[in-house]
């Protein structure tokens, strides 16, 4: 069996792809509802970047798995228990502050992850990562600018941004969980053990939160389960909407 056909690598690619597919879909829910036209377009751009990355990652997952599933089959014909995204990606979009804080937390994580994955021993994954790094850099810049604007803005915007930080913080720990899959791909040089990204993530995120006059909540309990297919109730609802066209008209093209 070639090294890239390890089942752990397929699971790993599903994690990478599902994070971006689910978050991209959540962001796309803003389309037509953004606070102003410019930001509506900006959010849709980020959503398209994430869905584009997910397409490439799920395609690679399907090829590596060699079970005849392409990226569309993986996106539209898996149920929520088969999804491997972190829970933070699937939470409902909330208000604009919630969406921005979540995007900021994920984008910093994604940039660190993709920077490391540029050195993957799998050339295709390294190539996808190189493309994603450019996109993630802009996502960090855009969301960080908004976190500072909202946090260091009016009383109302500060309160909403702080509420979002408080609500989302307990979902950040899952991004850095390590398990047999993370260790397997890391030791094979295919992937990066997510736990190694925690320290730089905290440094960068806490720096921006300070500038935004937002407070880092005291760490208590961290939510988990998404990496093993144990999701919140929200993912099922989201998937039913995302998948209904593909499932109602299997094989349809346009």
């Amino acid at each position: 069996m070639p090294i890239s056909a390890q089942p752990g690598f397929v699971s790993y690619l599903l994690r990478l792809g599902d994070d971006r597919l689910v978050l991209g879909h959540r962001l796309s829910e803003w389309c037509g509802h953004g606070p102003i036209l410019e930001e509506d377009i900006a959010l849709a751009n980020v959503a398209l970047d994430l869905v584009g990355e997910a397409t490439l990652l799920l395609k690679l997952a399907g090829e590596t798995e060699s079970a005849g599933r392409n990226e569309d089959a993986l996106a539209y014909f898996r149920d929520s228990t088969e999804y491997r995204n972190a829970l933070i990606a699937e939470l409902p979009k909330g208000d604009f502050g919630f969406t921005i804080v979540r995007q900021f937390f994920f984008s910093v994580f994604s940039l660190l992850q993709m920077q490391a994955l540029q050195r993957s021993s799998n050339a295709e994954l390294a190539g996808i990562a190189a493309k994603a790094v450019k996109e993630a850099k802009y996502h960090v810049r855009h969301s960080a600018q908004w976190v500072v604007t909202l946090g260091d803005g009016t009383e109302e915007s500060h309160a909403r941004a702080q509420a979002a930080v408080d609500e989302l913080w307990r979902y950040t720990g899952e991004l850095f969980l390590t398990d047999a899959v993370e260790q397997e791909v890391a030791s094979a040089g295919l992937g990066v053990d997510a736990s190694t990204l925690a320290e730089p993530w905290h440094a960068q995120v806490e720096e921006i939160l300070r500038r935004a006059t937002l407070t880092v909540p005291p760490v208590s309990y961290m939510q988990r389960g998404g990496r093993d297919g144990r999701h919140t109730e929200h993912l099922g609802h989201m998937l039913s909407e995302m998948q209904i066209v593909a499932r109602s008209h299997p094989g349809a093209t346009w």
Binding site: I36, L37, E38, E39, I41, A42, N45, Y138, R141, H142, Q145, T149
Partner: protein, 111 residues
């Protein structure tokens, strides 16, 4: 009009109560490197950095530009339609201002 100071915000005062939008910025894109920046349109933003990002997202997301300038619309002083006559008409009856009596030497590229 009485002696009203020509405030730079005249005409484009985005903070007036009638306008609930954020301040307006004019966007200039440089198509390929070396060419002049051209006016592309305008965006709303609360800061220069946000204006730059909005300009990127609205006007340059399909690789249209290699450089972006954003300028607060309020900083632009523009001629008015009333200026049309005094500004532009006097040139028309002075043909000697147009160098069209000269023969272009061979070898000079005519644009």
């Amino acid at each position: 009009m009485p002696d009203q100071p020509t405030s730079p915000t005249n005409g484009t005062d985005a903070t007036s109560p009638a306008d609930s939008q954020w301040p307006l910025w004019e966007v200039f894109l440089q198509p390929p490197k070396g060419e002049a920046h051209e006016h592309a349109g305008s965006v709303h933003a609360v800061s220069a950095e946000q204006a730059l990002q909005n300009a990127r997202d609205v006007y340059a997301r399909r690789g249209e530009a290699v450089s972006i300038w954003v300028v607060p619309s309020a900083s632009i002083t523009a001629s008015t339609p009333d200026d049309m006559g005094p500004f532009f008409d006097p040139g028309n009856d002075k043909p000697y201002r147009h160098p069209q009596f000269y023969k272009v030497p061979r070898g000079v590229r005519v644009f």
